[in-house]
């Protein structure tokens, strides 16, 4: 099957996904389950990586900016900008594409190869709507929150790194954070996180839903899903940056 066919099939899938849920109380239960599985359980890894990446960015900047002509507050400023503009929305999304994307593909793919999706269809349930819509909503509404947590922890990680290594003073770092704060950049980051969250939920769902074969194919589909989700995130990142900041 060529790429055009896959893209067409993906959009046909979305048409089925965005239909009215058949039973609201069942949908609500599924949504809360997905918020727990895809959202709450992702906070830990994003927090951990954000904290340490923030620390590393601050240390790298401090080590590379040793000219007396460049003010020290630039370290806090650079760390803040890196975390808000790229790390929290994009890098964290690529990490989540790996963690959550493989989970979505393998869980839906396993349901496919063990006939659980056929069972839903035989009962008269729109399986795409039942399985995918709660995932889309859970990620689209929850990931911006995770991204905000990532921004804060990254910037905090930079401050902790400076305090522990003594490479820069706390006051300089805090001054850098407060310098030239532009709320639109946070808005830009959140818009990106919503788009990436949508991709993280839908591309792996597509790969899982249409898998054919057995356990090996589910494994392959999970890998493909992670690769394609990452590729599309990176491409969309370019287009969104050009559109929103260009």
């Amino acid at each position: 099957m060529n790429y055009i066919e896959h893209i067409g099939k993906y959009f046909m899938m979305l048409k089925e996904v965005f239909k009215k849920p058949q039973k609201w109380n069942v949908f609500r239960e599924a949504l809360f389950r997905e918020i727990e599985d895809l959202g709450l359980k992702s906070i830990g890894i994003v927090s951990f990586i954000s904290f340490f990446v923030g620390g590393v960015v601050a240390i790298q900047t401090a080590l590379n900016v040793d000219s007396p002509l460049i003010p020290k507050y630039l370290i806090g400023f650079a760390t803040k900008r890196s975390m808000i503009l790229e790390f929290a929305p994009t890098f964290a999304s690529v990490i989540l594409a790996g963690k959550v994307g493989s989970f979505i593909t393998s869980s839906i793919g396993t349901m496919r190869v063990t006939e659980q999706i056929d069972a839903l269809e035989v009962m008269g349930i729109n399986s795409l709507n039942y399985l995918v819509l709660p995932k889309v909503l859970a990620t689209v509404f929850f990931y911006p929150l995770i991204v905000i947590v990532g921004m804060f922890l990254g910037i905090f990680g930079g401050w902790v790194a400076g305090s522990l290594t003594g490479l820069f003073h706390s006051a300089d770092y805090i001054g850098g954070i407060q310098l030239d704060f532009n709320p639109y950049l946070v808005q830009y980051a959140l818009i990106k996180s919503v788009v990436f969250a949508f991709l993280i939920a839908t591309i792996p769902s597509y790969h899982g839903f249409y898998v054919k074969g057995g356990a090996l194919e589910v494994g392959r589909a999970s890998t493909q899903a992670v690769v394609w989700t990452s590729v599309v995130i990176i491409l969309m990142n370019y287009f969104l940056t050009q559109t929103l900041l260009g």
Binding site: K23, Q116, A119, V122, M123, G124
Partner: protein, 255 residues
């Protein structure tokens, strides 16, 4: 009653079903048998609406499935119970949640009403004290019982089973076969079973349809299987020496 008239189904250049006619009566257990690749699974999936045949009609108590509107099709789906080969229980749900699932989706019953019904059907399939277990914690036979309980919880008019006793030991397989037959008679369900299991053919085959190369090659009852001179059926059903001897003994006895 289900009436199938001349259904044809192709995938690409391969025609899998080449005009199959069949009638499945209410309160009876009908079996579809045939070699791998004969079209059994495609036939069953066509009955279930998972495949759309290019030609022919399938009528459920007079209602032709392809002529139904969306509401009609949804209603028909709710009248259908299905037991899949691998049970197809939802891994993330407990036994009682699995059985309750169709009721939660399609009825407005209270939780206590649904629990009463769940307990009733689980008792009917002789599965107690497993309500809170997950499918992975159950044996193959227990999973099949849960699948049967889920299939009958909405009082279906039609029950379809795809290889219901595959992977089970012979004793458990007979128990599952008998359970399906009892439920079929008790609730006056139209039951269609897709099977390779010759024990099932002999035990519960009130009507047997033999498919070969996408066509109905033979039709009869479990008693007719002993007497038939259709070579394809004899070759398929009596492929083992044991069954050949059983058949010969039966023929000697009636002669």
């Amino acid at each position: 009653m289900i009436e199938v008239k001349g259904i044809q189904k192709s995938f690409g250049d391969a025609t899998i079903l080449k005009g199959v006619d069949a009638t499945f009566e209410r309160g009876k257990t009908s079996l579809i048998i045939g070699q791998s690749g004969s079209g059994k699974t495609v036939f069953l999936k066509s009955l279930l609406g998972l495949h759309n045949p290019e030609e022919g009609t399938i009528a459920f108590d007079g209602k032709i499935s392809k002529d139904l509107d969306e509401d009609g099709r949804r209603q028909l789906r709710q009248d259908i119970g299905m037991v899949f080969q691998g049970s197809a229980l939802f891994d993330s749900l407990t036994v009682e949640e699995n059985v309750m699932f169709p009721m939660k989706m399609f009825t407005d019953r209270s939780m206590s009403e649904m629990m009463d019904r769940v307990n009733t059907v689980l008792k009917r399939v002789n599965l107690t004290n497993a309500n809170k277990k997950f499918p992975a914690e159950l044996s193959g036979g227990m999973q099949k019982r849960v699948a049967i309980a889920r299939a009958i919880v909405m009082n279906p008019k039609y029950l379809f089973c795809d290889e219901p006793n595959s992977g089970l030991d012979p004793k458990t397989a007979i128990v599952i076969d008998n359970l399906i037959q009892e439920i079929t008679a008790e609730f006056k369900i139209t039951t269609v079973i897709n099977t390779h299991d010759m024990n099932s053919v002999m035990e519960i085959g009130e009507k047997i349809i033999f498919l070969k190369n996408g066509l109905k090659a033979w039709e009869g009852t479990s008693k007719d299987v002993f007497k038939t001179d259709n070579e394809s059926v004899v070759d398929f059903v009596y492929s083992s020496n044991l069954f050949k001897k059983v058949r010969q003994a039966y023929l000697d006895e009636i002669n």
